[in-house]
C-alpha cells in the first residue's frame, strides 16, 4: 500500500514521469484496440519502431518534426504568457502562404536573401494574424479563443483564394500553387542526401528549429520581455499595479506566438511541401502544435523532444498499413496520451483518496507536504 501511494506521489509531483506514463497508457489503449480488431500488437508496434529506427526513417521523422516543433513552441510560448493560442493553425497557414508568394514573386533573388525574406514575410504574416486577434481582445474585450477559431477559417479561405490567383496558381491541372522557386528551398543537396542515404526531403530546417528553441527559452527565462509577459500571464492585476503595460504585453505575446507559427508554415513549405494545395480541410498543424506543447510541458526543450516524438508517430503511423493496421491507430494513441496528460487532476484525487483510506487505517506515516495549502490559519 505504501509503495503504491509513493508511486502516485511521484506522478503528481514529477511532470516528466507523468508524461511518460501518459504515453505508455496511450500505447496500452492502442494495444487494446489492436487486440479488439484481431491484429497483432507486436507486429504493429514493431513496425512503428522499425520504421523510425533506421537512418532514412529517422531523417523522415526529423523532417516531419520541424513544423511540429516550431508550431509547438508557438503554442507553448502563448501558454507561458497567459493566452491560449488556438489560432496557431491560421497563423501557420498565412505564414506558409506568405512564404510561398514571396518565393514565387521574388524567385530571382539570390538564395540566402530569398530564404531570409521568405522567413521574414511568413513571420510577419503570422504575427499580424495574431495581433489582429489581440487587438480585438484588448480593444473590445472579444474572447481570443472565439476570434482565433474564426481567424483559422479566414486564413483557410484566404489561402485557397490566393492559391487560385493567376500569378500564383500552378500552370498544370494540379489544384495547387506553383512550386516554390528553387532558390527558396531549404533542401540539402541531392549528392549529400544520396551519399548518406537520407530521405529525399531532408533539409536543414531542423537547425532553424533548434535555434528557435534556444531563442524561445532565452526570451522566456532570461529577458525582461519574458519577465513582463510571464507576469501578465500569471497575474495581470499585479503586473499592471507594478507598472507593466498589460495590453501591450498581450499584443506582444500574440505577435511572437503568431510569428513562430508563421515560421513553422514557411519551414514546412520550403523543406517538405514545395507548394501549397487548395485545402479541402484544415491542415491541422496548429492543433498538432497544441498537442506538442502539452506533451512538452510548455518547456521549450521539452517541446523540441515532443515534436520529434510526434513526428515519429506521424511518420511511423503512415507505414502501419503495410502490415494491415489502420493508420487511425495513431490518432487513438495521441488522443489517449493527451487525455491522460490533461487529467492530471485524476492522479491528484487518487492520491488524496489513498491517503484518506490510509488515515482511516490509522497508520500515520510522513508523506510529502503538498497539502500545506489547507493549513491556513
Amino acid at each position: 500500500m505504501t509503495k503504491k501511494k509513493n508511486f502516485l506521489d511521484v506522478i503528481s509531483e514529477n511532470r516528466f514521469i507523468h508524461i511518460l506514463l501518459s504515453i505508455l497508457l496511450g500505447f496500452l489503449v492502442g494495444a487494446i484496440f489492436l487486440i479488439a480488431m484481431g491484429l497483432s500488437v507486436g507486429e504493429a508496434y514493431g513496425r512503428l519502431l522499425s520504421s523510425v529506427t533506421n537512418l532514412k526513417g529517422f531523417s523522415y521523422v526529423v523532417v516531419y518534426a520541424i513544423p511540429y516543433i516550431v508550431v509547438g513552441l508557438s503554442v507553448a510560448f502563448s501558454f507561458k504568457t497567459g493566452v491560449f493560442n488556438i489560432g496557431a493553425e491560421g497563423q501557420y497557414v498565412v505564414g506558409s502562404m506568405a512564404a510561398c508568394c514571396t518565393s514565387i514573386l521574388c524567385g530571382g533573388l539570390p538564395k540566402p536573401v530569398l530564404i531570409i525574406l521568405c522567413f521574414l514575410t511568413a513571420m510577419i504574416a503570422g504575427a499580424v494574424w495574431g495581433i489582429i486577434v489581440g487587438f480585438l481582445k484588448t480593444k473590445w474585450g472579444i474572447n481570443e479563443v472565439l476570434s482565433m477559431i474564426m481567424f483559422n477559417w479566414i486564413a483557410f479561405y484566404l489561402s485557397n483564394f490566393i492559391a487560385g490567383l493567376p500569378a500564383i496558381k500552378n500552370e498544370g491541372t494540379a489544384e495547387a500553387t506553383k512550386n516554390i522557386a528553387a532558390n527558396a528551398s531549404t533542401l540539402f543537396s541531392k549528392d549529400f542526401i544520396n551519399s548518406l542515404g537520407l530521405c529525399p526531403t531532408a533539409n536543414w530546417g531542423i537547425f532553424v528549429a533548434m535555434a528557435v528553441t534556444v531563442l524561445v527559452w532565452f526570451i522566456i527565462e532570461k529577458t525582461t520581455l519574458g519577465y513582463e509577459l510571464k507576469a501578465v500571464g500569471y497575474n495581470k492585476f499585479a503586473a499592471e499595479y507594478g507598472g507593466i503595460h498589460v495590453n501591450r504585453s498581450i499584443l506582444t505575446a500574440l505577435a511572437i506566438s503568431g510569428a513562430l507559427a508563421g515560421l513553422g508554415g514557411a519551414l514546412q513549405l520550403m523543406g517538405m511541401g514545395g507548394r501549397i494545395s487548395i485545402f479541402t480541410s484544415q491542415e491541422g498543424y496548429g492543433f498538432a502544435g497544441i498537442v506538442v506543447a502539452l506533451i512538452g510541458c510548455s518547456n521549450p526543450f521539452g517541446v523540441f523532444v515532443a515534436g520529434l516524438f510526434y513526428g515519429a508517430l506521424m511518420y511511423g503511423g503512415s507505414k502501419l498499413n503495410l502490415v494491415g493496421v489502420p493508420t487511425q491507430l495513431i490518432n487513438v494513441i495521441v488522443g489517449t496520451v493527451v487525455f491522460f496528460i490533461a487529467i492530471s487532476v485524476i492522479f491528484e484525487n487518487l492520491k488524496r483518496l489513498k491517503s484518506r483510506s490510509r488515515r482511516k487505517a490509522e497508520a500515520p506515516k510522513p508523506k510529502k507536504a503538498d497539502e500545506r495549502k489547507e493549513e491556513k490559519s
Binding site: 519577465y227 500569471y234 492585476f237 490559519s377
Partner: protein, 512 residues
Amino acid sequence: MAKEYVDLNTPVIEMRNIVKKFGDFVANDGINLTVHKGEIHAILGENGAGKSTLMNQLYGLLKPTSGDILVNGRKIEMNNPRDAIAAGIGMVHQHFMLVQPFTVTENIVLGTEPTKGPKLDMATARRNVVEISERYGLSIDPDARIEDISVGMQQRVEILKALYRGADILILDEPTSSLTPQEITELIAIMHNLVKDGKSIIIITHKLKEIKESADYCTIIRLGKYIGTVDVDEVDENGLASMMVGRNVTFKVDKPEQEPGEVVLDVKDLHCKDYRDIEIVKGLNLQVRRGEIVGIAGIDGNGQTELVEVITGLRKGVSGQVLVNGVDVFNKSPAFGFDHGVSSIPADRQKHGLVLDFSIEDNLILQNYGEAPYSKKSVLQRDPIFAHATESIEQYDIRPKQSEKRPAGTLSGGNQQKVIIAREVQNDKDLLIAVNPTRGLDVGAIEYVHKYIVDQRNKGKAVLLVSFELDEIMSLSDIIDVIFDGQIVAAIPGKEANENDLGLLMAGGEKA
C-alpha cells in the same frame, strides 16, 4: 466579564491531545481544548499557528491524525460538516457563504426548507426565522435580499443559520474582521445573549481587545503547540500578546513629534464612478505633506477604495486633479504614477501586490526589472536579483530564510505582506499609499508593518493610510480624514481623536 452563565460542571466540547500532520509538517501538536456550557472561549494565535486547522477538525472538515474529540461527553468521529451539525456544532466562516440574490429567510432555511406537500412552505419558514431571531435578540429583516444588507447583518444571518440548524456550540472564525466599531459592540451583545440561553461560543481571533471584552477563557496556540488556557479576567492584553508570540510586544507606536513639510499629494475636486457606473467619489479634496501620515477612516463603500485606485492609476476618474509633487497623475497609467513618486501597498495583496507564481526574488523587482543592476540590455541579471532578494529577506525578516527562489504563493500572509513592503519601501518614493496594510496579520507582524510605515514618515515621506481598523488609524495617523459618501467630512488631529466621535462621523453623523 462575570462568567455568570458558565457552567463549569458541564463540558460540551473536549478536544484531547489533538495532533494534525500535513506530511512532515505538524499543524497541531498535542492541543487540548475544553469548552463548557454557557462559555465564550477564545482561540488566540498568530497567523499560521494552527487555529483554523483545529477548528476545521472540530467542524469535520479535517480529520485529526491522532487525538480525541468529545461532544457532550461522548467521543465522536466526524467525517464531514454534516456530522458536526448533527452533533450541534455550527460554524460561521470568515467569508460568508450566503446566496446573494436570496432573501434572509431563504438563506437561513436553505437545505432544511419546510415543505407543504411538494411545495415550499415559505410562510412557515418566515415565521420560524422571525421566532428564532426574536428569541436571541438578533433583529433582522426576514424579507431583505442579502445583496442589499450590510456586512454586520449578513453575519447575523450566518449566526441565525447555524442556530436554525440547532447548533448549541457556535464557532466564529475571525468574526469582527470586517465590522465597524458599532457593529462589533452589537456582536458582543449578541454573543452574551446566546450564552445566557445556554449556548457555547468559540471565537477565533487575534484581536486582544475583543477577547478582553467578550471571552471568559482563552486558549493560546503558538506554532501549532498548546501554550495554555487562561482566565481572561486574570491577564491583560500584554500578557495575552506575549503568550501568543512568545516575546514581549509593544503596542505603542513610537512616533516622534515632527513638523510636516511641503505638500506631496494634492487631490482636488475628484469625481469618479464605481464598477456599477454610479458616482462614488463626489468632489473629494485631500492633502498629504512630507513627514506626516494621513489616515482615511471610513466604512467600506464610501469611496476610499476607488480614491486609491484613481491615485494609483488603476481606475479612470471622471474629473479632478491628482497632483504628486506638482505633477498631475490623474488618469495616467500606474507606471506614470510610479515614475513620479507614487508607491503603494495594495489592499488585495494576492491580486494586486504579488505574482504568486513568481519567485520571491522576481516579485521584489516587479517595478525595477528593467533597470540596472537587475537587467542589462534587456537581459535579466540573476546574480544581482538574487543578492537583492537575500538582502531584503534578511532586512525585512521574511520567513522562511533562503526562500529567494520559492514562489511567493507558498509564504504565509504576513510574510507575503513583508515582501510587498520590502519592495515598496525600497523604491524610496515620496508618497507611500498603504491600504489595510495589516489585514489578517497577527500582532507580531502588525507591530513590524507599523514600524516600517512610521519609519517612512520619519524619513520625510508622505504617507496615506487607508484602513478599516480604527485602532490602526488612530495610533498611526498625524491627521485623520473621515470619508463619508465620497467626500472628506472631517479632518481631526490624530492625538485628539476618539473612537466614538470617529464612529459617528463615519456613519454620517455629527461629532458629539
